[in-house]
């Protein structure tokens, strides 16, 4: 074969190198090289609600936004702090129930109950996860997986917080436009905020914890403190999603603790490409609508869903965004060995 004496060489495109430093912006070409992908993403997200054909699909956008927040949180925690969290359902449940209680018993409107539920819920989640913070890898994952199950059973068994019926009659958003655009804005802010955060000094500490937690301790920093801060950020995103969810569907039930909220963000991260932050977001925008489209097949949709996931893991295990970024930043050529 002719490829045996050749190997593929990947080199950074000249424009990538030129645009790496922030002082390198000197021409339209370089500026658009940096700005275009971001603009495409932002404009694309903001156009989505206008392009959707029906109310049903408008609702799907809001749901995708919520999953995107969860996936962003998962990617941040897993690839920048080194904690694999299966606690998406836990965050959604705590945030959702907090928002429902705030709305029903204190009469707070959604625009107040959602931010308060985000902060209160994230504090509760972080406090409950504190004992698990010294754990690493799969052990942390197991504990975070346990929490939603525990809460679900407690609510069921003690018949508190509306029991299996849930808390009904939560206030909804004034309009579907606001419902969609608010979540899209939150997603965009969360995405760019997290991307900024992981490159700030404190973000470097987070990445240090992932790379080598003993060295972080030897550097005079408490790893428990920084893990707690990171868990707070992630659970705040999850609780925000949960609170949003409750106000969209006007009910807080035990389905908030469903494992979907833990698993789909992970699947989206696999498809979109872990460690890119934007990848998981795109993964959600691919996965969730597909699962809606497959609804026609009834329970068989899980099979199709699995096949799609499997195909991704087999043929594009690096994820869409890692692949796309490589193609964008680098060119390839065959060189003789």
């Amino acid at each position: 074969m002719e490829t045996t004496d050749k190997r593929k060489e990947r080199l950074d495109r000249g424009i990538k190198v030129r645009t790496e430093g922030i002082y390198a912006i000197s021409s339209w070409e370089e500026m658009s090289y940096l700005l275009l992908p971001r603009l495409v993403l932002i404009v694309g997200l903001l156009l989505l609600p206008l392009l959707m054909p029906s109310l049903y699909w408008n609702r799907v956008i809001s749901i995708v936004g919520i999953y995107a927040l969860l996936a962003l949180g998962f990617d941040f925690l897993a690839h920048f702090v080194g904690l694999v969290s299966l606690g998406g359902a836990f965050f959604v449940g705590v945030g959702g129930y907090t928002a429902a209680i705030l709305n029903k018993s204190l009469g707070l409107p959604p625009l107040l109950s959602i931010p308060i539920a985000t902060i209160v819920g994230a504090t509760v989640c972080t406090l409950l996860l504190l004992p698990a913070l010294p754990l690493r890898g799969v052990y942390f994952a197991i504990v975070t997986l346990m929490y939603p199950l525990v809460f679900l059973r407690i609510i069921e068994a003690l018949n508190i917080l509306g029991g299996t019926d849930g808390i009904l009659g939560v206030a909804s958003f004034p309009s579907t436009w606001m419902e969609q655009y608010l979540i899209l804005f939150i997603v965009i802010i969360a995405l760019f905020g997290l991307r900024r955060l992981v490159n700030e000094d404190i973000g470097l500490v987070f990445r240090g914890v992932k790379d080598n937690d003993q060295a972080v301790r030897a550097s005079g920093l408490s790893i428990t403190l920084y893990k707690a801060i990171a868990v707070f950020i992630t659970s705040a995103l999850g609780c925000l999603g949960g609170a949003y969810f409750v106000h969209i569907y006007m009910v807080a039930g035990i389905s908030l603790f469903a494992l979907d909220y833990s698993v789909i963000p992970i699947a989206a991260t696999v498809i979109g490409g872990g460690g890119t932050l934007v990848g998981p977001l795109l993964g959600c925008f691919i996965l969730v609508p597909i699962s809606e489209l497959l609804r026609a097949f009834g329970t068989l949709r899980i099979v199709f869903y699995s096949v799609i996931l499997l195909a991704f893991i087999m043929f594009r295990s690096e994820g869409i965004m890692v692949y796309a970024q490589r193609k964008y930043h680098q060119f390839e050529r065959w060189v003789k060995v």
């Binding site: 790379d211 060295a215 550097s219 005079g220 920093l221």
Partner: protein, 262 residues
């Protein structure tokens, strides 16, 4: 020499299951001294450092740093007091560039107290400070080396990075766990002046070392450990003249002669 020692260890004991890794080890280090710890493999040198810096809890015993007890405090607490350590197996943050590795220690409470909110006080932000520290420790400022990912750096630079991480905390005492191991002769030759410079800057050093020739150039006192017990302590010449050390550490007289001649 009659002032209070900067580090005092009294009757440190540690056992892992049935293995007694440390048995009643006591020693003290004076301010500004270079103190060597030697001993055969498995004699408890690294365990001793782990116990002093809080990475391992001692079974019994006391560690006094600047007269204050720090036994079994958390590693980050101890590091913030200015007692830092390097790791024998280097522990850089592989996914970060070399100079960003130093931003982590520069973010610690100790460094922030000393350097202000931006990290470097008048000197600039943390990135600037870390490049300064790296230059001091032998990373050429105008080269690409400080900007390379730690995962692509050779061992020599990683060892320096370990030292640099300690320096970023502006320490009073550094415990060096085999900074010369795994280095080529020329790399060692360029490390020794660094150690001497640290000593001249007033930093106290405790060095675990297998490379005796280089250690004896800088160390003024040496302690020998064997099977977790302190065998002897003294100046390098005294220690090497000790029959028990020859037996335990080097096995035979022949090897000892070789070490001195080499």
């Amino acid at each position: 020499m009659n002032e209070e020692p900067i580090l005092q260890v009294a009757n440190a004991n540690k056992s892992f299951g049935g293995v007694q890794a440390l048995r009643d080890v006591s020693f003290s280090v004076q301010q500004g001294q270079v103190f060597g710890i030697i001993g055969p493999n498995g004699s408890g040198k690294t365990t001793l450092i782990n116990c002093i810096t809080g990475f391992i809890k001692m079974d019994s015993g006391k560690v006094l740093y600047k007269g204050k007890e720090i036994s079994n405090k958390s590693p980050n607490h101890i590091a913030n007091l200015g007692l830092t350590r390097t790791f024998q197996i280097m522990r850089p943050y592989y996914s970060l560039p070399a100079y960003k590795n130093l931003i982590v220690p520069l973010f610690s409470p100790r460094a922030r107290k000393m350097g202000g909110w931006r990290g470097g006080g008048k000197l600039g932000d943390r990135g600037t400070v870390s490049i300064d520290i790296l230059e001091e420790i032998g990373f050429e400022r105008d080269s690409f080396v400080p900007y390379k990912l730690a995962s692509s750096l050779p061992t020599g630079y990683l060892k320096r990075l370990e030292l640099a991480r300690c320096l970023a905390l502006r320490p009073d005492l550094i415990l060096c766990d085999e900074v010369f191991s795994g280095l080529s002769m020329s790399e060692i030759a360029s490390m020794v002046p660094l150690i001497e410079k640290l000593q001249m800057d007033g930093i106290t050093l405790v060095m675990i070392e297998h490379r005796l020739r280089e250690l004896f150039r800088v160390a003024s006192r040496v302690m020998v450990l064997n099977f977790g017990e302190k065998l002897t302590e003294g100046t390098p010449d005294e220690v090497m003249a000790d029959e028990r050390v020859k037996e335990a550490y080097l096995g035979s007289e022949k090897l000892l002669d070789y070490t001195f001649e080499a």
